[in-house]
């Protein structure tokens, strides 16, 4: 409801400019917003998952179940379920209604990344460390794992000849060198996009677990693949120090005019720092997909490129340490990133100056200030009941159906086993005496710098 009152110039600003907040609860190693942007899940190196309420910057929920560093987080569409993967070889699906563990899936290796199906929270895809990626169906308590291929799809031999045994053996040896580093679902969930250690991108059909397309887009390991919110663009971070954006073919047309053989992955932009040869820790799209954001190796800056021309739009500064995971709020120009050293979560946002005319109505917008003095001129027929149509839509949206419970004792439920960083690379367990009061002060938002305080 506030949009009609907010300065349109501020609404038009698409990316943040100022470091506004620093959240800390333990040592965060990965972050992910839910789809409405109300909550930020953060996974810590000690295996705890902390969910922050973005409005209050307070801890909404703490989930304890993993014993090693959290590797990835994935929210279900309605925001009720959260899938976490960890270096302790487990994935856990949490029901946030009560913070319980709905499913726990064990693997034979540490998990790189696990992502939920966009519409089915009982199906996820996981990439494992030096192991085959798997599609995991957890609709029943006993998980059904299906192995996804890592090897790229080879073109059919033109004349249908049989390969010689030597050539086949060579191919098999080559294929074995491929291992999948990252795999995500497409927007509709009918396909999995995976990236391999040799720089190949594979498109795998979810239903059949067969590769329908492969392209080699990078010269190094594919570190991360992100999909824009509308599902039409891919963002690929590779160890060759180049971030690529790729236009996604419309895979829903498959079988209706699009043949798998005709799929083409077209690189749109390559973002790189030619001078410094920076390599990129983590990348993300902006909420609209118009911007690409990346954190840099050994460098506290966040780069923001705009995609229409592929030029650098902004460097977000202010953090005093190298940053790891960076995430963009799904609707607002808000960027969060976690510091590698301290595990703090930094927030960049737009600082809007108070419009003084808003405080003094006398000086306000003159045209609209015509008072109808005579009461008999008040002949409008206001509708005080019916909400705006746009509002109705979002309210009926299933994404709004789940309301996160407001736990009044979230800090009391903390076990006091917080691990805090006392210096570079040194951790210690929180002293028991400080444990009671700890989570509150710890999660307290501490604005950095003078004059940025939000408690005016």
């Amino acid at each position: 409801m506030n949009l009609s009152l907010v300065d349109p110039f501020i609404l038009a600003q698409e990316y943040p400019d100022t470091l506004t907040e620093k959240l800390q609860s333990g040592h965060a190693s990965c972050l992910r917003f839910n789809h409405t942007g109300d909550f930020l899940a953060s996974g810590r190196v000690d295996g705890t998952v902390v969910i922050f309420d973005i409005e209050t910057n307070g801890v909404a929920l703490k989930l304890q179940g993993h014993t090693r560093q959290i590797q990835s987080l994935s929210w279900s569409r309605d925001g009720r379920y959260l899938l976490t993967s960890s270096q302790d070889w487990k994935c856990i699906l949490w029901d946030l209604k009560d913070g319980s563990r709905l499913r726990t899936v064990r693997f034979e290796a540490p998990v790189y990344i696990a992502e939920l199906h966009p519409f089915n929270h009982l199906l996820f895809v996981a990439s494992l460390f030096e192991d085959q990626p798997v599609l995991v169906d957890i609709s029943s308590p006993k998980a059904i794992k299906r192995i996804l291929p890592s090897a790229p799809l080879r073109p059919q031999a033109p004349n249908g000849e049989e390969l010689t045994p030597e050539a086949a053996a060579k191919q098999a040896a080559q294929d074995a060198k491929h291992s999948t580093c990252v795999s995500i679902f497409t927007a509709l969930g009918n396909h999995v996009i995976s990236g391999t250690s040799k720089g190949w991108i594979n498109i795998i059909e979810t239903e059949t677990c067969t590769t329908i397309h492969s392209s080699r887009l990078c010269n190094g390991v594919v570190i991360l693949i992100r999909l824009s919110k509308n599902g039409k663009d891919l963002l690929i971070n590779s160890s060759d120090r180049i971030i690529r954006t790729v236009v996604m073919p419309d895979l829903s047309q498959l079988g209706m005019g699009l043949e798998p053989a005709n799929i083409k992955l077209q690189i749109e932009h390559k973002f790189q720092d030619v001078v410094n040869r920076l390599s990129w820790n983590h990348v993300t799209f902006s909420s609209t997909g118009e911007f690409v954001t990346a954190t840099t190796y050994m460098n506290p800056d966040i780069y923001v490129w705009e995609r229409s021309h592929g030029s650098l739009a902004k460097i977000l500064e202010g953090a005093r340490e190298e940053l790891g995971v960076v995430e963009w709020h799904p609707t607002r120009p808000l960027v969060v990133a976690c510091g590698l050293e301290s595990g703090a979560i930094y927030e960049w946002f737009i600082i809007t100056p108070q419009k003084w005319s808003a405080l003094a109505p006398d000086f306000g917008e003159v045209e609209e200030n015509v008072h109808q003095r005579r009461l008999d001129l008040e002949d409008e027929e206001p509708d005080v009941i019916t909400p705006d149509p746009s509002k109705v839509d979002t309210d009926t949206d299933p994404a709004h159906a789940f309301a996160m419970p407001v736990l009044m004792d979230v800090s009391d439920s903390d076990s006091g086993e917080d691990i805090i960083a006392v210096g570079p690379g040194t951790m210690r367990r929180r002293t028991p005496g400080a444990g009671r009061d700890g989570p509150e002060t710890e999660a307290d938002a501490a604005p950095r710098g003078s004059g940025r305080s939000r408690r005016r």
Binding site: M1, G364, H371, R456
Partner: protein, 494 residues
């Protein structure tokens, strides 16, 4: 958009004595919108004149143009000087001219929009030619039929605030006896009594999940009471420096807004029981406050006469509304769709503001309100299966003469005047349970004697079922929580 030009000019003329106003007259004479504006001010700023409405309808502003500006100048400078003495300022500007003006406008209201109007199809009064209403809508009911269902007596002293729970199955009430009581709506039975506050309670609010009742008290704290366990929350919300007048939850329940006599509005993080943000709200006690249905806006009003609208996320003031007479504003309420604000002022008016355009679009009169922060709200009426455009809605408010008054939003006619209470009706809240629309009201204590406090919890449920005439669906049976006791001093807005 020539705001940039008009703003400074207006500022000068408003704050400077008469000399500049003649300049401006020359300037604006060839500027039509601004000129129109000027007219509106000259009519506006006659706060100490008894009857602004008595001006001739031709509204020639020439004779006392300068006088008005001088008047305004002195008044504004006086208020700015006396900013920090709220008691002196409180009811002064409004009281002298109140009664006559109210009468005058009441007359006009009834002549302009007489009862005959009510039966006309609402569509034919639309400004644009509406599509022909093929199945003619039944006429708008011209009266409501709320009847007393229960009298909930248990508070030892006056009741200042009543609220239906989100699902309307329960009612919470808070009063000068420093207790919060929770009642079952269907039976009128008391469920809980929460004791713990050290002073009278001015406001109660339900958390959106219905698990907690929060109460704000003159002991400067906000306390939470669990409906599930029947106990107090261990955390007490401390931070205000003075009485707490009004609290409201955001729809997600993660934040609570509170307005206090200490002139500030706080946004609390409910989970941590800590102040998240303090809004430098007003220069006088904050008497009323509300949060819009999507939680993005907070409205506050104070006895300095200002209604301010704040952005919840940034804590910034987005809009300030002030009526020309600047009467102390004591209560605000967002409309159910969040597009309008209803503001109560101590000149005996309730104004419906289009806050985006900073414009009053309706003025409701007919209740008495000179001293107290009286609350009220919105409700719907009419047969539920008929779709009117706009939907039939009423505004409801308590009154200092013991009545509850319901006005139609569009016509401003009084739909019902619920008599029954004998003292100031401070709290009114609307709700709907099993398709039945309800009102609950809390009343300041009167001289009925504090004897009936403990045992009269269960008055004979007067069988009502307001089923007469066209109003059958309106089985509006208001359970009233009325209370005996001495006048509760904690809710007076003086």
């Amino acid at each position: 958009m020539d705001h940039a030009h008009t703003k400074p000019r207006r500022r000068v003329s408003r704050r400077s004595p008469t000399g500049s106003s003649s300049d401006e007259l020359a300037v604006v004479s060839n500027h039509e919108p601004a000129h129109r504006h000027r007219q509106s001010w000259s009519r506006n700023f006659t706060p100490q004149r008894p009857t602004p409405q008595k001006r001739p309808p031709s509204r020639s502003e020439s004779p006392d143009e300068l006088a008005v500006d001088a008047d305004e100048y002195w008044r504004s400078s006086r208020t700015s000087r006396s900013r920090h003495s709220p008691s002196k300022r409180s009811a002064a500007p409004s009281s002298p001219g109140r009664t006559p003006s109210e009468d005058a406008s009441n007359d006009r209201m009834s002549t302009d929009e007489g009862r005959t109007d009510n039966h006309s199809d609402p569509s034919d009064r639309l400004p644009t030619p509406a599509p022909p209403a093929e199945p003619p809508l039944p006429p708008k009911p011209d009266r409501l039929n709320y009847r007393e269902k229960f009298v909930l007596k248990a508070h030892q002293r006056g009741v200042s605030s009543v609220q239906f729970s989100p699902d309307c199955t329960m009612i919470a009430s808070g009063g000068a006896d420093a207790t919060v009581k929770v009642w079952e709506t269907a039976t009128g039975k008391p469920l809980y009594t929460f004791v713990g506050h050290l002073a009278g309670i001015s406001t109660v609010a339900w958390s959106p999940d219905g698990k907690w009742v929060a109460s704000g008290s003159d002991d400067k704290t906000i306390r939470f009471w669990s409906i599930e366990t029947g106990r107090a929350h261990t955390k007490i919300f401390k931070g205000h420096h003075n009485y707490i007048y009004q609290i409201a939850f955001t729809p997600k329940g993660n934040m609570l807004a509170s307005g206090s006599y200490d002139e500030a509005v706080f946004l609390w993080d409910v989970r941590r029981a800590k102040v998240m943000r303090s809004l430098p709200a007003h220069s006088d006690p904050v008497a009323g406050m509300d949060v819009v249905h999507d939680g993005t806006l907070v409205a506050s009003c104070a006895t300095d006469g200002l209604v301010r609208i704040w952005d919840t996320h940034t804590g910034q003031c987005l809009r300030t509304l002030v009526h020309e007479d600047n009467p102390p504003a004591t209560f605000v309420k967002f409309s159910p769709n969040g597009k309008y604000i209803l503001a109560w002022t101590l000149d005996g008016c309730i104004r419906l503001w289009n806050y985006v355009e900073s414009r009053v679009i309706k003025t409701f009169q007919g209740h008495e309100n000179k001293k107290y922060s009286i609350s009220g709200g919105f409700g719907t009426y009419g047969p539920p299966d008929v779709k009117y455009n706009p939907p039939l809605a009423f505004a409801v408010s308590g009154s200092e003469d013991g009545a509850i008054v319901c006005w139609d939003i569009v016509t401003k006619n009084i739909l019902q005047r619920i008599e029954g209470h004998t003292d100031v009706v401070l709290g009114v809240h609307t709700g709907q349970l099993n398709g039945k629309r309800m009102l609950v009201s809390g009343v300041n204590g009167d001289a009925a004697g504090p004897d009936s406090a403990p045992d009269s919890n269960l008055p004979p449920p007067t069988p009502v079922n307001g089923a007469d005439g066209e109003d059958t669906t309106m089985a509006d049976a208001p359970p009233e929580s009325s209370v005996a006791g001495t006048p509760a001093g904690d809710v007076t807005m003086t």
